[in-house]
Amino acid sequence: MKDKAIGALAGLCAGALALPAAADEIKVGLLLPYSGVYAALGNDIEAGFRLGLAAFADETEARFAIVREDTEVKPPVGLAKARKLVLDDQVDVIAGVVSSGVLGAIRDFVHNSGVPLIVANAGNDEATGEQCSPFITRMSFSNRQVNRPMGEWLHAQGVQKVYTIAPDYAAGRQMIGAFVDGFTAAGGEVVGQEFTPFQTTQDFGPYLAKARASGAEAVYAFFAGGEAISFVKQYDSFGLKEAMPLYGAGFLTSPLYVEAEGPAAEGVIAALHYVPTIENAANAAFVAAFQAETGRVPSEYAVQGYDAARALVQATATGAADRASLAQALAKVSFEGPRGPTAIDPATNNIVQPIYVYETVAGETGLTQKVLAQLPAEADPANGCTLSATN
């Protein structure tokens, strides 16, 4: 009798355990840096991602289980962790990837193993250009997308001569290259350029003197993280902000760390695909939920995680549940999100979204972002990507 009861109990337990799997459990591998220079970004993306899964849970039958792995912002580690997620954990989909270097390292593995990857940050143009893959969908941004329209906008504001400065690595060169394309195509002139040694430059003083002597009307800069903070503060401390206004790719004054820049960031005008002060219903809901969860305003990194989760939910809502069908469904998502109309370009699997020009201004409780202009969404050129031909 006792044995029978135990057997029945065991059966019940097994049944209970098996149930979630029956209801389409999607296993998600979060591949993010939780240590190293981009740890803050990784944590913000994860916070956004979890929030997104919770917020849109009602729209799908699927349930999600998350496995997280730390890339340490090192390409070889990222590749090892991607292998672990795919081969050991048997995940259905990977989301994350902050560094373009890590994305480059895992691209072939992801493509060949046929696991859908939702890129939640890395912006290198090749990932949705000549290196594009039907399994890689980008929900963040591309370097070109953020910077080229800003070049046109800045020239339209009457700025004729610009000096550019950025760290000397792939993303720095791509961002500045795209800006220069847009700015010179509109008729502007770049009077000088500087690429500073990446992650070893702490004192920008020597370069700032050159910028001042260049005869430019304004400076256009791309820096991110610690370098952005040092650069913006030093730019202001030398009194350049009054003489030559500072413009840049929006990471320069990201809400994630703009408070560390303090008053030095006031008046800096930058372009980005998201700022927390965008006015629409989806963003209001997102900002409120994120603040309730973390006590901070969301950054562009958080929204990338949030939208990556939403894209995944939308893909599963179409009935997709395995790797191949998820990859196909992900390439077709589109929604009105916190960033406005957000969709995937079927030609490259890159996101298409409006770009916001914003000024960092002093608000009631600290620095905030004043949106100056919303630049229309533009799909990147295919650049050798042959997705549309094969699909």
Binding site: A40, Q199, D203, A209, K233, A260, G262
Partner: protein
Amino acid sequence: MDFGFWLFQTLNALQLSMLLFLLSVGLTVIFGLMHFVNLAHGALYAVGAYVAATVAGMVGYWAGLLVAPLIVAELGLLLYWLLIRRMRQSGPMAQVLVTFGLIFVLLDLTRIIWGDIALGIEVPDLLSGRIEIGGVTYPVYRLFIIALGAAIFAALALVLAHTQIGAMIRAGVDNDQMAACLGINVERLFLLVFCIGCALAGLAGAVAAPVLSVTPDMGLKILIPTLIVVVIGGLGSLWGAMAGSLIFGFVQTFGAVLMPGLASVLIYALLAAVLILRPAGLFPARG
């Protein structure tokens, strides 16, 4: 490339030099006195910056500048009692490994306590703004860094050359066994120098915080320049630390402006040249 340009860049170079001097002087004297390699010195600099940022946020900049060196010196004391005292006889390899590990322990501790998001502090009102010197407008705070570094150098030079404790330290650096035979408590002297070195690292962190960003990895970033300064200047010597810092600051600054393509290589080429021609550095403490 007029006079203003050269003056401006010279001030930039001096500012960088003084910051490096505050860091390298502690490292080099600890090394010279006790042949102890403390790679965690850079991590102490980061802790100093974080403490300064926290205290500055609560009480104000000057309190942060005062408290940071004290806290870091306390931390140094703790490290000394827990680890370094036991490692004194274990040879440079073990010391390098242990203090290298310490870097990562301290780095993760700062991440756990202060988080991954960078912090910043504002320059105090007294030192904000710019003044004009020789036709160049230059930030007051950077001049303050130069003055502070020079003052600390002068104070240390005075103490080393003209006081009894200075004579004892010089004796210890020159020949620690003989100094011990003469009745100098070399171990206690070491502890004193170690704490002062740590305090200076904390001070450097506090001074750098308003100019740079306060991030967990700032200690790692500053470590290599500091080691280069120590090697170029010569182990164990105050003048070596100053000379090494000045050389590094000027090569780095003018390299960045005049030969941007070579800037990151120049200082390493110089380091290699010094190692080949004067393996003991430019001003070694021991003849």
